[in-house]
Symmetry: C2
DNA sequence: TCCATATATATGCATATACAGCTAATCCCA
DNA sequence: TGGGATTAGCTGTATATGCATATATATGGA
């Protein structure tokens, strides 16, 4: 079929495009997942990232920017920017920690709490849809997620 | 250890933060991979995305924006913007297709070709590093990538 | 107490990514 | 052949993400 490709100059380059690059494969999977979950949450005006942020703010006793960034294995500056639309729309508020005024302690507003609960129902639908897709594809893919979680389980720690 | 978390209001919310959200887990894995590969390629002034773009431009007989976007399962507009820094830095050129002037046919410059070859060596080092990490974690994770590729193998087709 | 160091956050800058909507070119059918 | 439908690409807008750096606060010695 494919007379459209030219020969590779090095084995590495051939491998890169063959689908075996861990990074490109993972990123492609990520794009696909985000599209699916974001679509499921769109009616609530939230992205999957924003839903996760709201959930962390809800479930940590003292949610700060750096703490959530550590838990999500993200750069603090990215986290900081992700909070802005949520504050702008009145879903969370923030105040300096009395014990350490460098820290910014976050909290859900009532509206933020309602949005979180409502969106979580549609999150679950997306989650179930992926589960069904996995069943169609066989058991290997189920193990996939366990593997990803193992890889990512350097975080853990206390809250 | 963790007295820092509060109880979940719904099972869904507890699950969301437990690490079993396919979307969040995949995205976290993606962030980790991108950091690793981008660091490995930094000395060449390329990101992993840009390396992949150069490789596709090199290996398709008639590389166009939409074709590469389809192959990478990305939105065409995102692809279009990703090409800009590469054109700006003189690594690729573009010209309208003579047969269909809507299409933009891409080509590597000499410098683009050199960068591609040079960066591919360091790509391979990153790839091998991930392989080694997987071995430490056991065989499950090896199967992980096969699963991701199966999931993502709706593209295929002829370039 | 004062300064060097470390920590928490924010900003500047750049890429990555998607969706909606726009224009130009092509295609297809009545 | 004329015009609607389709396709390719671009731009506007918004979030996602990281690195380098700036600022403010805290901390720990000398």
């Amino acid at each position: 079929m494919s007379t459209e490709r030219r020969p590779a100059e090095t084995p590495a380059l051939a491998e890169l495009l063959s689908g075996s690059c861990y990074c490109l494969a993972t990123r492609r999977a990520s794009r696909r997942m985000v599209r699916l979950y974001d679509a499921a949450l769109a009616e609530h005006g939230l992205t999957i990232s924003q839903l996760a942020l709201l959930a962390w703010v809800r479930y940590l006793r003292k949610p700060t920017v750096q703490k959530i960034a550590d838990l999500m294995e993200m750069d603090q500056s990215a986290l900081s920017r992700g909070l802005m639309p949520l504050e702008r729309e009145g879903l969370i508020t923030s105040a300096p920690d009395a014990d350490d005024r460098r820290k910014k302690v976050l909290a859900l507003t009532d509206e933020g709490g309602r949005r979180l609960i409502a969106a979580a129902e549609d999150w679950e639908k997306a989650q179930e849809e992926v589960t069904r897709q996995q069943e169609k594809l066989g058991a290997d893919v189920a193990r996939l997620m366990a593997g990803i979680n193992d890889l990512a389980k350097s975080e853990a720690g206390s809250d």
